[in-house]
């Protein structure tokens, strides 16, 4: 497949990069990426990947757009309130680039549907806001041997890491397990600075484009943290899997996915 004239112009700033070029752009156009969560992180990831010409992008989220989302979920606008987030994000992505196919999954991702869903994609982006789904995405990706980008944001802090099967530690190597539901007396809804979602989501889009085009070094075996208060980035080295991880270790104790219960955190204003 050759790039047409419009594509050559649209993607010219990629094609000019020796690390990407026309070859890399074709890889992007042929790639399939699934974004789980169409919120703070999923919005910038979706917009940048659509702009980059990632040919097929799946977006999964069961929520509808709420007024309190608009402070940070930049693909949704005031007129979208009440609309499914996947629909709103799809419209924003297609407005940027009709070259891409956006598949929407307006449903909760759980242990019964995640494996079949991720199987169709080359790279998964975790844009969720809860620990239960983060563990589920990790475990499903390890089982299906799918690479994924993990990220979390909170207040003025954000972090991300990338899992590539067989190349480095998984999320569970670092964070072991969901704390038991009744052991979380301190769970609170906390604020987050809107631009934090943009910073970290853009970094996830960067990892995705690099993975697809085989460019540079990914955040494998490293957790990149960003502190917005001090404007500082740090990379924390993660030890390689010691073989004892419950999911990616040599004798995994987790052989079936399960749904964790996410504690409902109260909102105190």
């Amino acid at each position: 497949m050759a790039l047409n004239d419009e594509q050559i112009e649209r993607y010219s700033r990629h094609i000019l990069l020796k690390e990407i070029g026309a070859k890399g752009q074709k890889k992007l156009l042929n790639a399939k990426v699934l974004i789980i969560g169409a919120g703070g992180l999923g919005c910038p990831v979706g917009l940048y990947l659509a702009a980059a010409g990632v040919g097929t992008i799946g977006v999964a989220d069961a929520d509808t757009v709420d007024l309190s989302n608009l402070q940070r979920q930049i693909a949704h606008s005031t007129a979208d309130i009440g609309k499914p987030k996947v629909q709103s994000l799809k419209e924003s992505m297609e407005a940027i680039n009709s070259d891409v196919t956006v598949n929407t999954y307006e449903k909760f991702i759980d242990s019964s549907n995640i494996r079949a869903l991720i199987r169709d994609y080359d790279f998964i982006v975790d844009g969720t806001d809860n620990f239960a789904t983060k563990f589920l995405i990790n475990d499903a990706c390890v089982m299906e041997k799918k690479p994924f980008s993990h990220a979390g944001i909170l207040r003025f802090q954000g972090q991300l890491m990338t899992y590539i099967p067989g190349q480095g530690p998984c999320y569970r190597c670092v964070f072991k397990d969901m704390p038991p539901k009744d052991a979380i007396p301190t769970c609170r809804q906390a604020g987050v600075i809107g631009a934090m979602a943009g910073v970290i989501g853009s970094l996830q889009a960067m990892e995705t484009v690099k993975f697809i085009t085989g460019t540079g070094k990914l955040l494998v075996g490293e957790l990149l943290t960003y502190d917005g208060i001090n404007q500082s980035f740090r990379k924390i080295k993660l030890p390689p899997c010691d073989g004892k991880c419950a999911i990616c270790g040599e004798h995994p104790s987790i052989t079936e996915l399960k749904d964790y219960e996410q504690p409902a955190c109260e909102l105190k204003l």
Binding site: G39, G40, C187, Q189
Partner: protein
């Protein structure tokens, strides 16, 4: 002695145990924080046994979700 905590070099008393450092640093909900010492993860139950040495590097890795924390 000097150790590096979350990227910052600081002076601490000789013989400081990892558990004491976690208290000193006011780590929130320490039971849910992953601690690495010289690029190795430390089991939660071992924190009290480990005596830090000059030049050690300690990192705290936090659970982080969108808008909620443990």
């Amino acid at each position: 002695m000097f150790i590096t905590v979350s990227g910052e070099k600081k002076e601490v008393k000789d013989g400081l145990r990892l558990e004491e450092l976690i208290e000193q640093e006011n780590v929130q909900t320490p039971q849910y924080v992953t601690v690495s010492l010289n690029d190795e993860f430390i089991e939660t139950q071992d924190r009290d046994k480990i005596v830090l040495k000059d030049g050690d590097t300690v990192e705290f890795l936090y659970f982080m979700g969108g808008g909620a924390w443990l």
